[in-house]
Structure formats: C-alpha cells, structure tokens
Amino acid sequence: MSTNAIAIENLRSAGRPWTETLHEWVTTVDHKRLGILYIAYALFFLVVAGVEAMIIRIQLMHAHNDFVSPQVFNRMFTMHGTTMIFFVAMPVLFGFANYLVPLMIGARDMAFPRLNAFSFWLTALGGLLLYFSFVGGNGLYGAGNAPDVGWWAYAPLGAKAFSPGHSSDFWTVALLVSGFGSVGTAINIIATVLCARCPGMHLGRMPLLVWLNLVMSGMVLIVVTPLTAAQLMLLVDRYLGGHFFDTQAGGSATLWMHFFWIFGHPEVYVLILPSFAFVSEIVPVFSRKPIFGYPVMVGATVFIGFVSMSVWAHHMFTIGMNSYANSFFTITSMCVGIPTGIKIFNWLGTMWGGRIQFKTAMLFCIGFLFQFLIAGLTGIMLASSPFDWQLSLSYFVVAHFHYVIVGGILFALFAAFYYWYPKFTGRMLSERLGKLHFWLFTIGFHVTFDVMHIPGILGMPRRIYTYEPRPGWEILNLIVTLGAVIQAVAILIFVWNLLSSYWKGAVAGNDPWDAWTLEWSVSSPPPAYNFATVPVVASRRPLWDQKHPEDPDSRYE
C-alpha cells in the first residue's frame, strides 16, 4: 500500500499557482527537497563549467590559436576548476547525501532542517558571487573581471600587487561563503548519523553510503576550514595591509601552498568518498550479493580519511623541499593507495560469484571501476616524486585528475542518477537513452583523457593559452578536443533523459531494483515524513530480511 507522495506529485498535477510552488521550494527545510535543489544547482553549473571547458579546448585545438585572448583563457581555466569543485561536485554530492542519509537510517529528516536550508542557500550565494565577478569584477581601478589566478590562487599571484581590482576577491569571498555552507551541512550529516538512527541500526549496520558520508563530513570539518583560514589571511593581506603571503616583507609563498593543499588534497577525498558510497550501494544490488567485506570497507574508509590528511605536499614536489620531506610525502601518498586498492578488490569480490545485471547504473559503476583503477595507478606514478618532477604541472596531471573526477566521480554520479532517480521522482529513466549516454560518454571520455596523458609526457605544461607547434602537440590537442565534443553530446542526451523521463518514464513503484536498504521500503517519491512508523532493523539489509525471512542477514552478521 503506497503512502502518499506529496512534493513532486503536486508539481505534475497542475492547478496550483506556480508562485505557491516556488515559495514552497524556496522556504523548504525538507531534506529531500533541499537535496534536489542542491542537485539541480549543481547540474546547472555543470553545464556552465562545461562551456568554459569547451572554450579552453577550442582555443587549444591549434598552436597559436586566437579563439580567445590570454586574459579570457586564464579566466576560463580558473572558473572551470573553481566551479567544478565548489559548485558542481560538492553540491551534487551533498545533495545526494541530504536526500539519502535520513532515509537510509530510518529518520524523518536531518538533525537540523533549518541549518540544512541555510547551508544550501549559503552555497548558492557563493556560486552567485563567483559568477557576479564577470559583471562586477571591475573594481574602482577598472582592473579585474572574473578571477584568473587559477583555482589555487597561489601567493603572491593573488596579492593586490599582482591581482589588482576585485577579481580575486570574488574568488575568495565566494568560496569563504560556500565553505561555511559546506561546514554547516557536514555538521548536520554528522549529527544526523550519530543521533537519528532508527532503533536497531547500530553503526555496524548502517549502509556503506551512510558510513562514507559520515567520514566525508568529518573530513570536511577539518579540511575546508584551513582554506577558510587561508582566505581570511589573504583578505587581511589584500585589505588590511597584512603580510601573511607578502614575500617583500619576509612572508612566504610556500605557506599559502601548504595551507591550500592541506585543504586541497583531502578535498578530493571528500569528493571521492561519496562516489565510493554510490558504487558500494549499487554494485551489490546489481550483482545480487551483499558487499564483500563490509567491516574492511568501513575500516579502509576511515583509514583513507586519516592518511589523506598526510599527503598534501605531493602537490608541491617541485617547490624545492629537501629529500626527507619529498620521501615522506612519497611514502604517504603511496600508502593511501593501499586502502583504496582494497576497496576496488572488495567491489570485485562483490561481483565475483554474483549474477550481474547490466542496467545503466551498473554500466557506469563498471566504467568507474576500470577508470578509477587507472587513475589510481597514474596517481602512484605521480606519488613517486622524481617521476613527478617531470610530470607535475603538465597535462599528465590534468589527465590524471580528470580521470579521477570525470572517470571516477562523474561516472559514479551518473550511476547514482540512474539508480535513485526512480526513488526521487517515481519514474524510471529510459534505459535505451541511458545506454546511449553511457557508451557515447565513455568513448568521448577515453578519446579525451587517455590521449591527454601524452602531451604531458611530451613536455606540455598546463594553464597555457597557446603553445608552440612542438612535435605531436597539435594533433593530440585536436583529438582531446574532439573527445570533449562527444562528451558534450552525451551530457545533452543525459539531460534530455532526465527531463523527458519525468513525464514519460515508466512508473517506478517503491522498489524497482529489488534492493535492500530502507529507502526502497517507502513510496517513490517518499512522503514528506519519510516513514509512517519509524522502522526497527536487525541487520545491514533490512529489506533482504523481509524478503527472505527464511534466511535473514541477521543470522550471519
């Protein structure tokens, strides 16, 4: 018997004035709606940052191209990176966490619904501030536009002397504001997970998605805040005459680097952990087996959380640290690959002996597994500091991290979309369009990012608006651009699938995938209150227990 779905159902049955619906959405404190707001926000910026990427790729198609000026190009790569990390990846992952965590732990909402809304709107404001720079970046001195200092804003490039006007301030303040939003959401997730689980759900019975988001949130607390601190220091330098990063006054440019990367490296683990979460929920369901080695997966996650805080200076291997420092960061960076590798093996172990169903969500997970494996291995190459002395700051690194972020995180996100869209909307996404999206995007991804490693090996640095026609550079850059075009087409197909399935997709029902976690026990979409009665659980897969009362998990855990 279906409990009544409220929110989205009403959107479909017209008759209410749109202003009322808009007001509901703007003032909502419901974690499910906020989740969708985060996701929609992120999708919009995905397209914007994608356009910025296309501008970069078109400019780099030929040597000495003049599609855009160097000033515009430098703004493009700065905005592309900043937008993708802070206004696409973080919001979309927080969006999914927001929607799913309370449902998966049998709670009715997050611990602090109003803080939840506040955090979302702070993040949204951050994005608006960043993009307002295109219009308002011209300060009193007429200098400045969108920020063009790279998404790391290395000192002293970000100082007033080298970055007059207000473009860098928009970067700083936008991220400061959205950083508070991120910390707010992290606090909320932690409080929810620790304080709102349904009876019987010990920490050892939580779905891995919940574990991974808990560790991710803990990381956010101590990882985003160093960036906040560094940005406050930058503002002191820029506006109060401070000297934190003023090399003329004895300040240190490398101090900014340390502070930034103490944020920047764990940040990418903040982004990958929720992606692991998606894969850890989806692969078992489509292999028809429980996750292999649940306790090890939890332990590996926590271990990654800690070790990832000790590797940051592998982004700084070229700054002239002594051999002991370089060796230290080499070994920690290689060590963090161990628990990550263990996770890949556990996913493999989950599929092993299963009955794999190749639904679109699973296809994206499989792509994730291969691609994340490769990305991890190029990461090991970069961790070897002398090898990094050649590879660093080149297109090899750009290829590596896009392999992780696009080939890993984005693929996992696509899987999450195909898997949970039915739950969010009550409709199935088209499998036909989904498979087209998958194959087209995979081909485009590999054409771009496999090839992109090679210019790096051939000596092409990053962040250059044009290049000399060195042997191989032009043809390789052209191929990379071609792959980007293919990916853009695939994304358009995906967006079309999202929109058209909302109205024309097959009705999903509660549990289209025959899955085992609590969100599949309620209607699609869930009612505003999630659960009519708070569930009581006795194992990690409460719905398996229900569907297989003769052989419940509780007997084996």
């Binding site: 018997m1 279906s2 409990t3 611990a111 602090f112 910390v183 992290a186 606090i187 909320n188 932690i190 409080a191 929810t192 620790l194 304080c195 709102a196 689980r197 009876p199 019987g200 803990g218 607390l221 101590i222 990882v223 985003v224 805040t225 160093p226 906040t228 601190a229 406050l232 220091m233 002191v236 330098d237 109060l240 005459g241 401070g242 000297h243 934190f244 006054a249 004895g250 300040g251 240190s252 101090l255 502070f259 509660n510 549990d511 609590l518 026990s521 309620v522 209607s523 659960f531 009519a532 009665t533 708070v534 569930p535 009581v536 659980v537 006795a538 409460p542 719905l543 227990d545 229900q546």
Partner: protein, 198 residues
Amino acid sequence: MSALTIPITQPPRPWVLPDRGKVAMASLIIAESAIFTIFVVAYLFYVGKSLAGPTPSQVLETPVFYTICLLSSSLTVHLAGTFLKRGRQGAFLSLWLLTFVLGSLFLFGTAQEWHRLIYEKGLTISTNLFGTTYYSLVGLHAFHVTAGLVMLLVVLVFGLAGRVQRDQSGRVEVLSMYWHFVDAVWVVVFTVVYVLGR
C-alpha cells in the same frame, strides 16, 4: 508498502543516541579548532622572521589579569549550568551574568592592549609579520569571544524574562561547551604568543 517491522523475539534494548546539540557543537568546535590551528601555525612559522619593526619582546605585556578573568568565566559558566539543572534559577542567573562580565572584561583588556600597542608602540597589522600574525590570531579569538558574549547575552535576557528553566539546561550546556572552547583556544593563543613566541 507499510512501515517496516521485523518480528523481534526479545524486547529491544533501550535505544539511546547522543544528544544532537552536543554532537553538532562538538563538530563545530572541531571545525573552528582547525581554523585556529592554521592561524597558530602561521604565527609560529613567522616568529622571528619580521624584517623590521617592533618585536614581541619589545612590546608585549603578559595579560595575566584578563586571562584569569576569561579562564574563571569557564568555571562560572559551568557552575551556572549545574545550578540550572538543579532548578536554582537565581544562582544560575547570577553566575551567568558573572560569566558575561568576566568575558567582557577580557574583551576590554584586549582592546586596551591593542590601543597601547597601536598608539604607544606603533605596532599595527601592517607594520610587519609579527603585527600581521599577532592581530590576526588574537583578533580571531576576540571575534569568537564577542560572538560568545552575544549568545550569552541572549540567554541572559531570556533568563531574566523567566524563560530559561531546567528543560533548557541541555541547550545552555551546548552554549557553555562553546564558551569552554573559546577559553581553551585562549590557553593555546596565550602560550603561543606570550610564552613561546617571545
């Protein structure tokens, strides 16, 4: 599908989870500690590296009295919370007010010290590395004290209006966690600036 229940053969143990306010405040404290840590690291990194201008040993005077004020306010706020839990409104309010006064005294002391440093010793945030790191670190702490005082005042006003009872002792405790944090940070800042850094 109706709500999920699984037949249980024995009555479930009482299901008690931590208080969300305390968990949230603890998380906030962890996040804030990270911010302070970065400012402390910058301070320590730049000790002795100023190219010119006044040095710590030349201009700093250890603020013993104001430190005692701030640290005792931790004691008073703790006692206030205990009294509230026992329902002793009067004691709670007096100690809460005393906490507010002690905290304000500390802020006044900081202001006084800054006035002396700026106008008598010529040390500003832009003078040199010491000036930048000193005012930033102590200023960040003072900002957190101010925020704490505002919250203390809000509770004080509600308390004087009779609206803070035993039922609210959990929330009061969460706020006093924050206040203890502010004091703990001062212990660190004091050690770094007035002991190690000189």
